[in-house]
Amino acid sequence: MTRVLVDNVSVEFARHREAPQIALTNTNLEIEQGEFVCLLGPSGCGKSTLLNVVGGLVEASTGLIKVDGRSVSQPGPDRGMVFQNYSLYPWHTVRQNIEFGPKLNRWPKVKVSEIANELIEIVGLKEYADQFPKVLSGGMKQRVAIARALAMEPSVLLMDEPFGALDAQTRSRMQELLLDIWSRKRTTVIFVTHDIEEAVYLADRVLVMSARPGRIIEDFRIELPRPRVADVVASEEFTRYRKHMLHLLRH
């Protein structure tokens, strides 16, 4: 079943005294239910633009976006978003941050606390449930942000370089945790990164993008077996994918 459909979408940004910047040109994309898709490309190639246009934060100049068959032009709870800078509500505790969406939508109290409990457990923040974000490390903050987005049980989770600000060890632990959550929840994920290893390690499909104008130049299907463990990066197949992508990104 097709979850996300991007049909001939272009995005232009007005520029000061110059022709508009074509951040994304005539892009087509189909993502199946449960797929983990990475958008990979150098900085400025339009990854965030593509993600935000699906998220409804950026308006498409041409084309159409459909999620679960409904066309979208505004942000909505069917598309959970996770940003690089966490964007937690500092005046709410961890639990209140996670419960924010369901409460807003007036879900029954029992269901709200059930969902929050489950997610707090999944992201391993039981001891921090009643703390304010200020005391959390970067990795913990991002776990809260992921839990908060998942609380609305979105059709697709949109993540924009979510681990970009984390140190290497935390980052690799977060990647494992994300795969673990994904295998339990089977949510569809679109994950933006500029890190080849991260993309190959996480994804079912890696869409390699190129700049000027922003577009998808290659669609890799990653056939590495799951569940993936950290040493999959040493395998021959992994190296082959990486070489191929490196070559694409260099040219």
Binding site: P75, M81, F83, Y89, F100, L104, F132
Partner: protein
């Protein structure tokens, strides 16, 4: 050999206070909290000592500048037997009234300007022009409109604080991160919910700080407002003392306004810690 001696000498024999001075002159130098405290105390004490010295030594006549001791005892006298607390109360009431109304109006208007392009286009040209109008020049106009009474004095405090406050709050609320609001939209929040559950709580701490800073302006304007047609108030008390050439009483009145300003500031700081514990 000569140069060796010299270099050694430089690092060893350089006086300690020179090293200190160097530290004090380095931008963003790290000073321990205790040292910063000591410097503050030295500054304040130094000021009063200097004041005490020039007055008690007779270098300046008491008529121009009475000694701090004379001022303090005069202030105590005014409070105990001069009914000065009634003046304090009258002024505090006006400051509180004018500033309260200004805040109640400025907070929503500031947030509207900061986050809604429609209201920005509608209101900003007027407000940023009005900011340049001197509130003190409105004293005569307010007398014509309202007469000489409480509401005229309160409205001067309002005029003086409302415009800077509204623009201050506009810029604060404009600074709330878009990601914070976008994440709420993507959790299914309506415009109304984003306004009340994200935008407002996100800028309230900074708004309270803005109120604290602007409260000082309110104390300035209440004194001006009282210079015309007030029978009670800290401003008129200063003016009357001047008529009778009671310099110590003039200075005592100024000091009293300063003390109340500091108390207002402390109250705001306390409220900030109390209401926004997640920031500390």
């Amino acid at each position: 050999m000569n140069s060796e001696l010299k270099t050694a000498g430089v690092s060893q024999r350089r006086p300690r206070f020179l090293i200190k001075v160097q530290t004090y002159l380095r931008p963003r130098a790290n000073l321990p909290a205790s040292e910063r405290m000591t410097i503050s105390v030295v500054g304040v004490l130094g000021f009063f000592l200097l004041w005490l010295l020039v007055t008690e030594a007779g270098w300046i006549q008491p008529f121009f500048l009475p000694s701090p001791i004379a001022v303090a005892s005069r202030l105590a006298n005014m409070v105990v037997s001069g009914g000065y607390l009634e003046d304090v109360w009258a002024s505090s009431y006006r400051v509180f009234g004018g500033f309260f109304v200004a805040a109640v109006v400025a907070v929503p208007i500031g947030i509207l300007i900061g986050n809604f392009p429609f209201f920005r286009s509608l209101l900003e040209p007027l407000l940023s022009t009005a900011r340049y109008l001197p509130a003190t020049a409105f004293v005569p106009l307010m007398i014509i409109w309202l007469g000489i009474n409480e509401s005229q004095k309160i409205s001067i405090v309002f005029m003086g604080t409302f415009f800077p406050l509204a623009l201050f709050i506009a810029s604060i609320s404009e600074g709330v991160s878009s990601d914070l609001m976008n994440s709420a939209y993507s959790l299914g929040a309506s415009s109304r919910q984003v306004f009340f559950k994200v935008l407002l709580p996100a800028c309230v701490p900074a708004i309270v700080d803005a109120l604290r800073i602007t409260a000082g302006i309110a104390w300035t304007y209440v004194i001006v407002a009282e210079l015309v047609g007030a029978d009670k108030g800290m401003g008129i008390a200063i003016l009357q003392s001047q008529r009778f050439l009671l310099t110590d009483q003039v200075i005592a009145g100024i000091v009293a306004v300063g003390i109340l300003g500091v108390l207002t500031d402390l109250a705001f700081r306390y409220a900030h810690r109390k209401f926004f514990p997640y920031m500390y």
